[in-house]
């Protein structure tokens, strides 16, 4: 369980801190890798750039993906993940402020596994993170590695 990695793609430092706090408060002690823009996220997953040489067979159990990101936005990250053999089955949860219909539609269209709107109320946010952890790290069986 503890070797399961969470990839958090988040550019807002406050949201990063609050998400980490919510994970900690819910006793989710998995390693959290943080990517602060779309490029960092892709570098991590594909072992390029700053992550050149990383063993990419070690994929995150779940990726928490914000939509509005610098450089490469969340939907574009999602599209590229789904287009690549190595990451096309990766569980991706969109975690965003927006509940615009268009974002929801696009999120699912490009292959998100789940879509969660970050609540303003921190108590609700804690609950959402607790459920996320429970579902994606405990209940859900990850897709088998194809190599």
């Amino acid at each position: 369980m503890s070797e399961k990695i969470i990839l958090l793609v988040e550019d807002n430092a406050d949201d990063e801190e609050l998400t980490l706090r919510a994970l900690k408060k819910n006793n989710i002690q998995n390693e959290v890798v943080i990517a602060r823009d779309g490029v960092e996220a892709l570098d991590y997953l594909f072992g390029t750039g700053a992550y050149a040489g990383r063993d990419t067979s070690n994929v995150p159990s779940v990726t928490l993906l914000d939509l509005k990101l610098p450089k490469v936005d969340g939907l574009e990250v999602l599209k590229r993940l789904r287009a690549d053999e190595r990451t096309k089955l990766l569980p991706v949860v969109i975690l965003t402020s927006s509940k615009e219909e268009q974002d929801l539609l696009n999120g699912y269209k490009f292959g998100a596994n789940s879509y969660i709107r970050k609540p303003v109320d921190f108590a609700q946010f804690m609950e959402a993170v607790r459920n996320l952890g429970l579902y994606w790290l405990l209940l859900n069986e990850s897709p088998p590695s194809e190599r």
Partner: protein, 253 residues
């Protein structure tokens, strides 16, 4: 004679062409304005909520981690910070839903307002089973309009009726239709708190409220939303009431 007719025809054609050009230009302007509005409300929903989450989250963090170093008043201030940020989040959401009813395609279909009202009444009753509210909803309330938008109208009117009868032990809410000058006038009537007709004009303004939020909760966006939808349908909405004797909201489509 013939020459003059031909000349007038040519003149008419020129005027028509010119008009056509105006319409095309104006449509392009409107489309651009709509696009701008859309991207504006997008950033409102995304960018304004993020700092609020920070305000609420870190206030909570202070309470949890440093609460023992604060006295009761200090803690209550932090609670107020949290309540205010959550309130602002509500306002943002309401503002967005108001802008959403003004955007998007509008269909013209036959809508069963009675069935919609029944549906909403059932939702209200299942959300609070302690209330004793008798709904009377006329059958065959057919209208022409956009189902999704008209549902928004009925939802707001019925929620209001439900809310403003909340202080009474029992309540009656009625949905029906009258005829005025041969035109159907739909109405939602309650026997709740009512309001002073002196303020009737303010009723449909965005974020206008006739009751304090400690008395009745709400952001004051519901009736503004109702009015926008009704206007988009080419109709009218108005209300009649007396303090303490309920209110009736009328609308045409």
């Amino acid at each position: 004679m013939l020459a003059r007719i031909q000349e007038q025809n040519a003149e008419l054609q020129r005027a028509r062409d010119e008009m056509e050009q105006h319409v095309i230009a104006r449509t392009a302007q409107l489309e651009a304005a709509n696009k701008e509005l859309e991207s504006f409300s997008y950033s409102v929903s995304h960018d304004l909520r993020a700092p609020l989450r920070g305000i609420d989250g870190f206030s909570q963090a202070l309470l949890e981690d440093y609460g023992d170093r604060l006295d009761a008043q200090g803690k209550s201030y932090l609670q107020r910070v949290r309540a205010a940020s959550q309130r602002m989040a509500e306002l943002i959401d309401d503002m967005l839903s108001l802008s959403r009813v003004s955007r998007g395609e509008m269909k013209s279909e036959t809508v069963d307002l009675g069935a919609l009202a029944q549906n909403i009444a059932a939702e209200l009753q299942s959300a609070d089973r302690r209330r004793q509210v008798e709904f009377t909803i006329a059958a065959g309330l057919l209208a022409k309009g956009d189902t999704r938008l008209l549902r928004v109208v009925l939802e707001n009117l019925l929620r209001n009726a439900w809310k403003f009868t909340g202080k009474n032990s029992t309540a009656k809410i009625e949905v029906g239709v009258d005829r005025q000058n041969g035109q159907p006038v739909y109405f939602v009537r309650d026997d709740g708190a009512g309001f002073d007709m002196a303020y009737a004009e303010k009723l449909f303004g965005a974020f206008q409220r006739l009751h304090s939020s400690t008395e009745f909760q709400g952001t004051g966006i519901g009736l503004a939303t109702v009015q926008r939808v009704i206007r988009r349908h080419g109709g009218r909405v108005w209300a009649e009431s007396k303090v303490g004797q309920g209110a009736t909201f009328y609308f045409t489509l």
